[in-house]
Amino acid sequence: MRLTPWRGNGPIMDNPPYIGRSVARPSAKRLLSGRGRYVTDVELPRMLHAAFARCPYAHARIVSIDTALARTMAGVRLIATGEELARICTPWIGTLDHFKGMKSPPQLPLPIDKAVWSGQAVVAVVADSRAEAEDAVEAVMIEFDELPAVVTADAARILDDNICFHTKLDTGDVDAIFATAAHVVSEEFRFGRHTPVTLEPRAIVADYDPSEQRLTVHHSTQTPYQFQDLYSRHYGIPEARVRVIAPDVGGSFGMKLHVYHEDMAVVGLSILLGRPVKFVADRTESFVSDIHARDHLVRARLALDAAGTILAMDVDDVTAIGAFSAYPRTSAVEGSQVIRLIGAPYRVRDYRAELTAVFQNKVQMSQYRAVGHPIACAVTERLVDLAAASVGLDPFEMRARNLIADDAYPCTSATGYRFEALSHQACLARLKQMMDYDRLRAEQATLRTQGIHRGIGIASFVEITNPSPAFYGVGGARISAQDGAVVMVTPAGDVRCLISVTEQGQGTETIIGQIVADQLGVTHDQVTIITGDTDTTPYGGATWACRGAGIGGETALQASRKLKRNVLDVAAAITQAQADDLDLRNGWIVDAATGRQRVALSEVARIAYFRSDTLPPGTQAQLTVAHHYAPEGYPFAFTNGIQGCHVELDAETGLVRILRLWVVEDCGRIINPLLVDEQIRGGVVQGLGAAFFEECHYSETGQLTNGSLAEYLVPMACEMPDIEISHIETPTRDTELGAKGCGEAGTAAASAAALNAVNDAMAPLGGRIARIPMTPARLLVAMGRV
């Protein structure tokens, strides 16, 4: 499906030099040279270091805290407990109004009465060095009174008053349909609890200057604007005197969007001391404090008729979160998306789902890459495969019969999602061709006779991108759904753009630069993009839910067009031509019709900045513009795709070799194919990590038992496959740019495709699994080998 002209202004450009091109990232060069500047690198004068004494129990009353000995230790400058910080910081509650009935206990930076998860920070120690702070932490004596802890979903569910959020979707006729359906398939799914494991841990330097009552926070975060607002409100500092800077960020994937107790505490510690305070979570702390995600128990069933048409789906999702809902984005979004995304690629008119989010005495849970999509996709695609088997259909054929037709748009899902235009069938056909599916099946059959068990699995998916204010704003959260850009031509005729979307390595700055360069007719290396500082960039939504390209890109596009208009106005005055007859190409103002160069952009800039006396009277050159863009139209720009996974199962050991993975992705107009493909690859590997390796293990007493990189298994190079990617481009007409997001697509379906592949491999051996990660032990048990 090729690009089609837009409504309104016609095509973006004829043969844009940069949009659609694989341009290497200018900002990667310094990262390659060891010149990255991460918060972990930040050093300020008189800076101190924080460490925390943590509660070892999952649930405990804080009886007493004795810091006398700790205070005497070398280098110790401050020790603070919950009470001290509660005096200067207001509590927060992680609920949103549009989640009706949602509740969560208020949180303070450090607790006063009790600790509610093992690892919760209870006392803060600030010292000249991190080592000295840790020494003093060992000398802090806290008396705890251990309380009963809730550590399983089942235990959590049956407790009175332990429900964070509950909701139901019901189109009405589901029971009747299931009662009479020709086939019903059902399954109980368990998804391992994850932690993001960003390579750069959480890092923050809070710098409160009492002489100006000004707070500057260097924060490894995706969203400096959100934190500017939060620090201002909770610490009572006027927003105008709070600055948050997000420099290079060493990985986030959603983890660094959320409020963490220690991070909030560090701001307070700096206020108390009037000196910069730095906190870098070490890896041990990261495991017991970074948000967790994906802890779901889903019981689901699917009804189909004798011909294999899906009739209805019925879902019960219990998600066991932490002891409170995360702030400000809640711990309910993941489950909410799970129940709304199940079945989304298919023509399913009748649907019922129930979501219950229950509290547990564990680490808090919240948005992590692909929020809810991996679970929804695995549930859907596994049931579809089971359904296919029940009627004797090949998995591709089953999907060909049931995926929404490519000409059926716009349409609305049974869960209320509105789809503008997707390409499920085209992606399905493309995948089958890419995989050389028929040959793989034939090869599988041959190898089975030799005792080699290969499996093929596929998974269709949709992905939420470009979220509107309906996502958070309507719930009362001060999380911006719009973005702003300031674009200017510099005296030398280069371009600077300050914009409110942010960079964590996915290439946000690069694609913004490509868009700006195209609109203003300059080379990419002439464009400087500045992000991540609330003092210098416009206020905006920053980067999450795949909004950078679609919303940020559109902001940059519209801003650049405004600037172009201003440049052409000045050029028209200089050349005595009509602005409408002019264009910007290759650093020159040219006759649009003939391409004849009229005046260099650098010359226009020189005149505007230094020789305004030579311009016609009344000409006020405006070579800087500010522009904001808020998404309108569809509440989300859905993308779609499909993944295929090929595995070889060692039936004797339960070990699985991932042979290859294929992705067909439709993310609308692609600005930089290189960056898009690498986002997909990274996302796929996270999904494969989920499928085979990652899981937080908790003991009966609520201790995280595998909280180290040796025991929480993140995917490493040897076990990961090469990944083949192909694209179909169905742009959105909601924007000029037509771009949608792509950052989470890889993760959305990889674990589902792998789950189907392993089940396919096991089928002749009588095994079946609906639990990830698919460990060797679980597979051996499933196959009855042990």
Binding site: L32, Y38, A131, V249, Q504, G682, L709, M716
Partner: protein, 156 residues
């Protein structure tokens, strides 16, 4: 105690606490922040540097152990231009995103390509087995190292 270390070709003399790790010494004392810490227990590879031209974990050494040693970091490798082809290949192939693992990846690649022959893709992945990356999914990194290995072999 006083230690004398050669870092990036320069003699460095400092007083350090014995418990100061080599990575903290490099990052905090010498402000060579190109080397990173991701786990402080040798599991992630973010802290790799060269000791006597061989990759080692700087988090698994104390600076005092490096007294008398020859250490090179990503900054030194860059200044000597000995990994320029790797850096170019990584850049062209987008074999980095957030960049936090990148110095460690380059040090590992340097060590691998110092060995004789052109490694297979499987051998490249094997050499990277101790380098954690969360962003790229590894394939682009393998591609970049593979490209350079072949280029170097072609040019002799």
């Amino acid at each position: 105690m006083i230690i004398n270390v050669t870092v990036n070709g320069q003699a460095v003399r400092r007083a350090v606490e014995p418990r100061l790790t080599l990575v903290d010494f490099l990052r905090q004392e010498l402000r060579l922040t190109g080397t990173h810490t991701g786990c402080e227990m040798g599991a992630c590879g973010a802290c790799l540097v060269l000791q006597d031209d061989r990759p080692v974990h700087a988090c698994l050494m104390f600076a005092v152990q490096a007294d008398g040693a020859v250490i090179e970091t990503i900054e030194g490798l860059t200044e000597r231009a000995v990994i320029a082809d790797l850096q170019t290949a990584f850049h062209d192939r987008n074999a980095l995103q957030c960049g936090f693992c990148t110095a460690g990846m380059l040090v590992t690649a340097y060590g691998l390509l110092a060995q004789y022959g052109v490694p297979s893709r499987a051998e490249i992945r094997d050499a990277l087995s101790g380098n954690y990356c969360r962003c790229t999914g590894y394939e682009a990194i393998v591609d970049a190292i593979d490209t350079v290995a072949r280029q170097r072999a072609d040019h002799g």
